[in-house]
């Protein structure tokens, strides 16, 4: 219930932003609210889970961690692309997570995948085992695992 309201307000603001008006108009927000109401009404049956957007700080921290990992692993992969001889050993390994629920799992997956050098190939039906493909297993597996635990912790700070 709360999540829906939140989302509605979110859409209303999104609406205001999309209008590209020079000044903020309450009427526009209201129009956006109506639009959101319509959309959410149409979509109401998809709300299986609720969504909380709190703990902005935790979120920001997560973002920072993520950015650092993003840049470092990007460098890694660019080096690999540009190295005259391709010399790496990719592979798939597993990782069992403590996270629970669709949103947490999804968030972690997104972070893993956005970090260059690692892709989630599968998630077990039980929602707890990640099968991850890494560019260079001996070298980056540990780095990925380290990043994973960092992400996991940061996510939990946000969600729990």
């Amino acid at each position: 219930m709360f999540g829906q309201l939140l989302l509605n307000i979110l859409i209303a603001f999104l609406w205001v932003l999309l209008q590209d008006e020079d000044t903020f108009e309450f009427s526009t927000l209201f129009a956006g609210f109506l639009v959101g109401l319509g959309i959410i009404y149409v979509m109401r049956r998809f709300f299986f889970k609720e969504f909380y957007l709190k703990r902005a700080y935790s979120g920001l921290k997560l973002l920072l961690i993520f950015n650092r990992e993003l840049i470092s692993s990007s460098v890694l992969i660019i080096r690999q692309i540009l190295s005259p001889k391709l010399n790496f050993t990719p592979g798939i390994f597993t990782y069992e997570t403590k996270l629970k629920g669709d949103w947490e799992i999804t968030a972690l997956s997104l972070l893993i995948m956005l970090t260059p050098g690692s892709v989630v190939v599968e998630i077990s039906p039980s929602n707890n085992v990640f099968y991850i493909h890494a560019m260079d297993v001996p070298e980056s597996k540990n780095a990925v695992l380290r990043a994973l635990t960092k992400f996991e912790k940061a996510i939990m700070e946000v969600t729990r």
């Binding site: 639009v35 109401r44 799992i105 997956s109």
Partner: protein, 140 residues
């Protein structure tokens, strides 16, 4: 092992909201910026397509029990109907009125018949595209 679509479905839910909002915006913006009934409708339809791809027909049906064929017909009816409305005023068929009313809360919105016309276009597009996609998908 069954494929686990949790990532896809979770992200799709968010994406669908963005797409739907964007679609409505495109539809209404058409008078001034790129967009309009057709593109708006198509984008809205693609939101449904995304839902269908991420979930399945039964789920989407349960979520939105709409007969899309009829939606298409409603759209066509609106488009032709706004044209016919002109007949009642003794002006040529499809004459669009150009009133941009300033309503108390909503502010200035283009209340032109063209909006109704475009809405018809959008409905028709959504209705048709989704009808086609669902019809094919169901035919196994």
């Amino acid at each position: 092992m069954k494929a686990n679509d949790v990532i896809l479905q979770t992200v799709s839910k968010i994406a669908v909201f963005i797409i739907l909002t964007y679609g409505v915006h495109l539809f209404l913006a058409g008078h001034y910026e790129p967009g309009g009934g057709f593109v708006g409708g198509l984008v809205l339809a693609s939101a449904f397509v995304l839902l269908l791809l991420s979930f399945d027909i039964d789920t989407v049906r349960k979520g939105m029990p709409i007969d899309f064929k009829l939606l298409a017909a409603v759209g066509a009816f609106l488009s032709v109907g706004t044209g016919l409305a002109a007949l009642a005023f003794g002006v040529p068929f499809l004459s669009q009125t150009e009133v941009s009313a300033t309503l108390p809360i909503l502010g200035e919105i283009p209340l032109a018949s063209v909006v109704l016309f475009e809405a018809g276009v959008a409905f028709a597009v959504i209705g048709t595209v989704v009808t086609i996609i669902i019809s094919i998908s169901e035919d196994v």
